[in-house]
Symmetry: C2
C-alpha cells in the first residue's frame, strides 16, 4: 500500500480505512493483476460496479434536494453531465488518484495512467471501497468536498437553461418573485429585436435582447447570472 495515498486521504479528507485491503483493491487495475498472477490479487472492477451505483444515488440525492424546482428531465441531464467519464476522470486527477493506481507494464506504456476511462473507473472503485469500508454517509461527505461544490459553482449548469439556473440560484434561500418584462421591440418583422429586463422582488437584476421574447428572456437571465456571480 502506497503510504503517500494513506497520508493524503487522511490529511485532505480525514479518511482512514479500516480495511486497507479494500483500498488497495480499488487502486489495482486488471492489467496489474494479469501481470502478477502469482500474487492472486483482485482487480478493482467489482468495486467500480458498486461505486458507480453509490455515486449515482448520492449525486441524485444532492440534485433532488438542492434543485427543488427543477423538473425531472433537467435533473437527469444534469446528473448525466456530472456522472460521466469526462467529469469523473477529472475528479480522479484532482484527488491525485492517477499517481497511485497499480498498472501492468503494457497499460503503463500505452498511457493508461492518463486514460479518462481508466481514471473514471478508478474514481468509482474508490467510492465503492469507501462505501464498503465506511458507509453511505462517508461517501457523501467525501463527495461534499470533491464534487458537490463544483455543482453549486455551476460547473455543469450549461446543462440548464439560464432562466432555470437563475431561478435556482435566487430561490436557494427561500421563495422570491422573479419577473420578466418586455421593455420594447423594434425593427421590421424579419429582423425583429426584443428587449427584456428581469427583476427579483421588484428590483431589476438584469437585461438582455434577442430575436424572440424567449431568447430575450434567456439573455436577460444570463446577464443577471453574470452580475450575481461578480
Amino acid at each position: 500500500m502506497d503510504q503517500r495515498l494513506l497520508k493524503e486521504l487522511k490529511e485532505t479528507y480525514h479518511l482512514v480505512f479500516h480495511n486497507e485491503a479494500l483500498l488497495e483493491q480499488a487502486f489495482t487495475h486488471s492489467s496489474y493483476v494479469n501481470e502478477h498472477r502469482y500474487l492472486q490479487l483482485s482487480d478493482n472492477e467489482r468495486l467500480e460496479f458498486l461505486g458507480d451505483a453509490v455515486l449515482e444515488l448520492l449525486v441524485s440525492q444532492f440534485l433532488y434536494r438542492n434543485f427543488p424546482k427543477v423538473p425531472e428531465g433537467k435533473l437527469t441531464k444534469l446528473r448525466a453531465a456530472i456522472v460521466c467519464e469526462d467529469s469523473l476522470s477529472k475528479f480522479a486527477k484532482e484527488c491525485h488518484f492517477d499517481q497511485y493506481v497499480l498498472l501492468g507494464k503494457g497499460e503503463e506504456h500505452s498511457g493508461g495512467r492518463t486514460r479518462p476511462a481508466l481514471l473514471c473507473d478508478l474514481f468509482e472503485a474508490f467510492l465503492g471501497a469507501l462505501y464498503l469500508d465506511h458507509d453511505l454517509v462517508a461517501v457523501d461527505q467525501f463527495l461534499a468536498k470533491v464534487v458537490f461544490p463544483k455543482i453549486i459553482a455551476g460547473a455543469f449548469s450549461h446543462e440548464m437553461d439560464h432562466k432555470t439556473r437563475l431561478q435556482e440560484v435566487l430561490q436557494r434561500s427561500g421563495d422570491v418573485a422573479i419577473e420578466y418584462q418586455l421593455l420594447r421591440e423594434e425593427g421590421p418583422a424579419h429582423e425583429r429585436k426584443f428587449w427584456t429586463e428581469v427583476s427579483c422582488n421588484g428590483e431589476k437584476i438584469g437585461e438582455g435582447y434577442g430575436k424572440s421574447k424567449k431568447l430575450a428572456e434567456q439573455a436577460a437571465a444570463a446577464n443577471a447570472l453574470r452580475r450575481l456571480e461578480k
Copy 2:
C-alpha cells in the same frame, strides 16, 4: 389517499408512511396533474428520478454481496436485466400499484394503467418516496420481499451462462471444487461430439454433450443445475 393502498402496504409490507403526501405524490401521474391544475399537485417524476438511483444501488449491493465470484461484466448484465422496464413494471403489478395510480382521462383511455413504462416509473417513484420517508434500509427490506427472492430463484439468470450460475449456486455456502472432465469424443471432424461430466468435491453432479468442449461443459452445468433445482 386511497385507503386500500395504505392497508395493503401495512399488511403486506409492514409499511406505514410518516408523510402520506409523499406516498400520494408517488402515485400521481403527470397526466392527472395536468387535468387538475387548480389542485396544484406535484407529479411523481422527481421521485422517480431519485427512486431509480436508490434501486440501482440496492440491486448492485445485493448482487455484489450474493455473487462474490461473478466478474463485473456479468454483474452489470444481470443488473440491467433486473433494473429494466419489463421487470420493474411486473414488480409494480405484483404489488398492485397499477390499481392505485392517479391518471388523467386521456392516459386512462389510452391504456396507461397497463403501460410498462408508466408502471416502471411508478415503481421507482414509490421507492423514491419510501427512501425519503424512511431510509435506505427500509427500501432494502421492501426489495428483500419483492425483488431479491426472484434473483435468488434465478429469474434473471438467463443473463448468466450455466457454468457461472452453477458456480454461484454451489459456492453460496462456502468454497467447493468444481471440475469438468471430458469423458469421450466421437464422430468425424465436421460432426464431432464431446461428452463431459461435472463434479463437485469429487462427486459427479451432471453431464452433457455438445459440438465443442465449451458447449459440452455448458450442457453439463445446465444438467447439474436442473438436478439441483429438483
